[in-house]
Each structure stands twice: as C-alpha cells, then as structure tokens.
C-alpha cells in the first residue's frame, strides 16, 4: 500500500511503510500458526501434520492426504474445533475493529464497543429470549434477540445524544451510560423473575465459544468483512476527526455523516459479535490501545494491526480455557480477569504520564 517502491521519499517514511508491512505479515503468520496449533489441542490430541493434512485434504483433488489419518480426526477438526476457533478469531477481530472506531469517534482512548450500551442491549435481548424460552428460530433465537436488543439500544442512544449541533462525543458517552444503567436493571429484573433458567442467562452473559457452528463463522466473518470495508474506507476521515470536528470540516470531512456511518457500522459489528459469543469485555478496549503503541494513532495502520491482534488474543484466550486449563472458564470472565487489571495499569499510566489535557 505504502509507496515502498519509490526511492524519492523520505527514508523515515519508507521505514515506517516497511514496518507496517512486516507487522501485518508477522501477525497474520502468527494467527495462521495459532489456528493450526489450537486445532490439534484439546481432549483429543491431534498432531499438527495431521491437522494440516485434514485442512488441505478438504481442497478439491487433495483427498488422498487423508489416507492414514484416524477417521475420527477430520470430524473433530472440521466440525467441532475449527468453527469454534474461527468464530473466536473473528469475534476478537470484530471487537478490536469496533474498539478502534469507537475510540476514534468518541475521541476517547478509553471507549470500547460497549461504551454505547451495545452489550447491555444484547444482554437484555438474550435474557428476554431465555426467560420466555423463545425458540421459534431454534438455536438462532438468542443471538437474534441479542442483536435486536443492541440495535434498539443504539437507536435510543443516538436519539438521546443528538442535538441541533449534531452528535457530540460527550453526549454519546453520557447517553450510553444512562441507557446501559436502565438496561442492566432490566437484566436484573429478568434474572429475579426466572427461577430455574437463571443459570442459563448467567452463563450466556459470561460469554462462550462452545458449540459454535460454521454458520456462526460465516456470520461473524461476513460482519467483520463488511465492517472492515466501511471503516477502512473512512479511516483517513477518522484520523482528521481527531483534530476536532471544526478542523475536520475545514479539511473537507462531513463529520456528522462520517460519525454516524462509523457509529452504526462499529455498533453492528460488535452487536453481531456479542450475539454470537455473549459478552466478552476488554478486548475492544485493550487491543487498540496496545496496537496504538506499535503503529501510532494513524487508523490506516491501526485498523489492520488491531484486527489481527484481536483475533490472536481472543483465539489464544479461548484455547487456554478450552484445552489448557483443567476446567473451562467462561471466556468473558477470563478476559475481564486479565484485561481489567491491565486497564487499570493503562489508566494509571495516563494519569501520571504528563499528557497535557485540555
């Protein structure tokens, strides 16, 4: 992408152009290696060469590779493990993407995909479906209601935050907090009303990639691809908007339009992630933060790096609870337990970092 081939530019820029290329390449290779590695890990250990043979054997004309592989292994890898692994990676990438975008739009490095109440809305929708035991769409009922919940929440938050001067970031954050508080009370009410179902609700709220199917994979990958396309298209506008809306407007950016498009895109991507996996906190907050120290705040670099890093992080966390720990802990609990303290560290560093705030 970067004009790496030309010799006439500034050497420093060529270096950073090459650096972003290597960063993306290394992260992509790490992610691919982790997918193969984690496919072999679990209750049934499968050697990595067998995993590769199973995956490549799926390609047309390559079926001979499966000769000599235990006939149970292809089922375990392609029907059980790969859907879960790929969903975890896609959700991690989606949460990281929407984290980058929310932090950029809300001009707040501590915003995350859930700041605007997307998770609270999804939680209420899912709890509602579980409470009434709605099963009209089979396994899709809970994700569907979770998605509707976050969509309605987003609409309410945008409506609350909009004024004659447009959508300001502080209005959005405040509206998100207010709406989230109301929705959390709604979830508590449902938990109180149900008796035997309460454990199902709590389990969903803690997040899990257990029993994911290829349909989940395609759904999250589709949402991720669409989100990446739109956010990539507006990444330069997002950079300029960091200078404030008046400056951005004077540089030819339609800040109201771009902010609304990116807000809706990022919210829908995170809503799809939440509806598939339950609530997994801190990935969308931390990954963009860590990646910003690698790439700087330029969104044209930050977005691809964050997506790969988010996929690696969540796949790693899910593999840890699935195959390494003696008992599976809900993934949302694991990310909150490790991400929370890290968040405190970053926050404290920001307080003492000598950054001019005004």
């Amino acid at each position: 992408m970067k004009r790496a081939g030309k010799s006439s530019g500034r050497p420093k820029d060529l270096q950073s152009g090459r650096r972003i290329f290597w960063q993306i390449l290394i992260l992509a290779l790490v992610l691919a290696a982790m997918v193969v590695l984690s496919s072999g890990l679990g209750y049934l250990r499968i050697s990595f060469s067998d995993v590769l043979r199973i995956v490549l054997g799926k390609l047309p004309g390559m079926h001979f590779l499966l000769d000599g592989v235990n006939s149970l292994f292809p089922v375990v890898v392609t029907d059980v493990r790969l859907p879960r692994i790929l969903t975890a990676a896609a959700v991690g990438a989606g949460l990281a993407l929407s984290g980058v975008v929310f932090q950029g739009i809300l001009l707040n490095p501590l915003a995350d995909p859930y700041t605007l109440g997307v998770s609270a809305g999804a939680a209420l929708g899912a709890s509602f479906a579980l409470w009434l035991n709605i099963g009209i769409w089979g396994i899709w009922s809970v994700p569907f209601f979770a998605f509707i919940g976050s969509g309605l929440t987003l609409t309410a938050v945008i409506y609350l935050a909009s004024s004659s001067a447009g959508l300001s970031s502080s209005n959005l954050i405040l509206s998100g907090i207010i709406v989230s508080a109301i929705l959390s009370a709604g979830v508590s009410f449902i938990k109180y009303m149900v008796d035997e179902q309460v454990s199902v609700i709590i389990f969903w709220l803690m997040g899990s990639f257990g029993s994911k199917t290829w349909a989940d994979v395609w759904l999250t990958l589709g949402a991720l691809a669409a989100g990446l396309g739109i956010c990539g298209f507006f990444s330069r506008e997002l950079n300029v908007m960091a200078l404030g809306s008046r400056t951005a407007a004077s540089l030819g950016v339609d800040t109201q339009k771009v902010r609304l498009i990116l807000l809706i895109t990022a919210s829908l991507v995170s809503a799809v992630c939440v509806s598939v996996s339950g609530i997994i906190g801190f990935v969308g907050l931390l990954v963009p933060h860590i990646c910003r120290t690698l790439t700087g705040p330029d969104n044209q670099r930050l977005i691809p790096v964050s997506i790969l890093a988010g996929a690696i992080l969540l796949l790693g966390a899910d593999t840890l609870t699935r195959a390494v720990l003696p008992h599976e802990i809900p993934i949302g609990v694991l990310t909150a337990l490790t991400g929370g303290p890290f968040f405190c560290y970053i926050y404290r560093k920001r307080q003492t970092g000598g950054v001019h705030d005004d």
Binding site: M1, N239, R246, T247, S250, G252, P297, H356
Partner: protein, 262 residues
C-alpha cells in the same frame, strides 16, 4: 471579488448570533475582524467557510454560491486555524501537518514527495520542524498552536481563516506567523481573514478592518479610516487614544487604567 456575503443572518436556537451582514472581501487583502467577546466573530467566519449555513442571506465565493461547492472543493479554497482544538491521540506533529494535504490527495493515495517537500518547507518557516517527531499531545499550548497553524498553511488554499490563531503565542511567534501570512498576501495574492483580540497587532498587519458588535458589522473599511477613538468606544465601551506610530508605521491604540466606560 473573492468572498461576498449578502444580508447574512444566523442564530442559535432563536438567539441571533450574526444579523444582516453584507461584506465584499477582495483577493490579496489581509482582513481583520475585531469585536467584543460573543459578538459573532467566530460564527461569521464559520459562515464564510460553510461550517454553518446562513438562516437568511447568502455567501458566495468567486461569484458562485458557496452551496454549489463540494466539501472537498471548499477544503481546497479555505483553510482554517481554529480557536480551540484538542488532539486526543498521540499523532506526531508531522502527521498532523501532513493532514493539511488530505484535501489534495485521493482517498487511498499516500502523500508523495511533493507533499513531503511542502510539509518540510512550511515546518521550517513556522519553526515547528524541531519537534516534528514529537507527539502533539506532549507539546505546550503555544507549540501545538504553531503545528495547527502549519497544518492550515500546508493546505495551500487561496483563502486563510485565522480564528484567534495566535492567542497562545508569545509576541515573537505571533509576529513571525502573521509576517509569514502577510507576505503570502502581498506576494502571492492570498486572502487572509483574521479574527483578533489584540487591536494593535491587528493594526500592524490588517489592511482592512471589520468591527462587529452584537452580531452586526458596525464599521468596516481600511485600517487607517476605521480605527478611531469613537469607533473603539462604540464597539468595546472603552476610551482610548489612537495615534500614528512612527516605529510601528501603523495606527496604534493606547488605553489607561480608567478607560472602561460603564
């Protein structure tokens, strides 16, 4: 005639901020807008660059209504140094200045050697090159303002709007930056519209003054005609002495401790 406003009015929720302003601004002139706090100066410049659209009246640029220009076209004609700015992410100074080239670049095009040369040149002229690789969030208020100023100059537009652009700067940097844009006015025929607080600084550089009060333009004309004791008293409610200063080679204004007229 570069910028022309005809009976322009604008209000915030029924509260008029700019009322019936008709001005003709010519290319190659340095205009200063003076007036007390809250008199509509910033709103007026926002109307000139279509950051806001007038409730009544019209603004045109080079004979065509401003509404017929696309956002990108406007960004290639007008650059703005805003009064307030905050940069929440650690962009380097150079990255911020380079953003001024965005209106001239295709969406997926990266800045080329010519863009880099232009950034180098402007950063040298504005004295911001020495901290080009430092994060803008770590700079002092004055240093940051110079970076924002350089960002607007790199935009390389025929019209430059300065909204209290030197309010955080020491006198040396203020004179140096105003001198820089003044030479662009006289040598390259650029148009500068500067909202200012410092009357004497305005008198040094502005060829034409626009005095505003309560949303209306009350006096406008060449600096040496508009800048009078009566005009200053009617706009700012202060008594003053206006005189031709031989050192400044311009009119200057002095006040005393009891200048304020209640």
């Amino acid at each position: 005639m570069t910028i022309e406003t005809e009976h322009v009015s604008f209000g915030y929720g029924g509260q008029p901020a700019v009322s019936d302003v008709s001005l003709k601004l010519r290319a190659g002139m340095f205009y200063g807008i003076l007036g007390p706090n809250g008199c509509g100066k910033t709103t007026l410049v926002d109307l000139l660059i279509r950051h806001r659209t007038p409730d009544a009246g019209s603004v045109s640029y080079e004979g065509k209504p401003l509404s017929t220009y696309s956002r990108k076209q406007i960004a290639r004609k007008f650059a703005l140094v805003p009064q307030q700015y905050s940069v929440n992410f650690p962009f380097t100074s150079r990255q911020v200045v380079m953003m001024g080239r965005y209106p001239h670049l295709g969406r997926f095009a990266f800045p080329g050697p010519a863009d880099h040369r232009q950034v180098d040149e402007i950063m040298d002229q504005t004295g911001t090159r020495e901290f080009e690789n430092r994060f803008i969030s770590e700079l002092s208020g004055g240093e940051r303002q110079r970076v924002i100023f350089a960002r607007a100059l790199v935009q390389d537009t025929p019209v430059l709007i300065l909204d209290e652009a030197t309010s955080n700067l020491d006198i040396s940097h203020a004179i140096s930056l105003f001198g820089l844009v003044f030479r662009q006015v006289t040598d390259k025929g650029k148009t500068v519209v500067a909202v200012m607080q410092d009357i004497n600084l305005a008198a040094l550089f502005c060829q034409y003054l626009i005095l505003m009060k309560r949303g209306r333009v009350v006096h406008h004309g060449p600096c040496d005609q508009v800048l009078t004791e009566n005009a200053i008293q009617s706009v700012f409610n202060v008594k003053s002495k206006v005189y031709e200063d031989s050192y400044a080679e311009a009119r200057q204004v002095v006040f005393n401790r009891s200048s304020h007229v209640p």
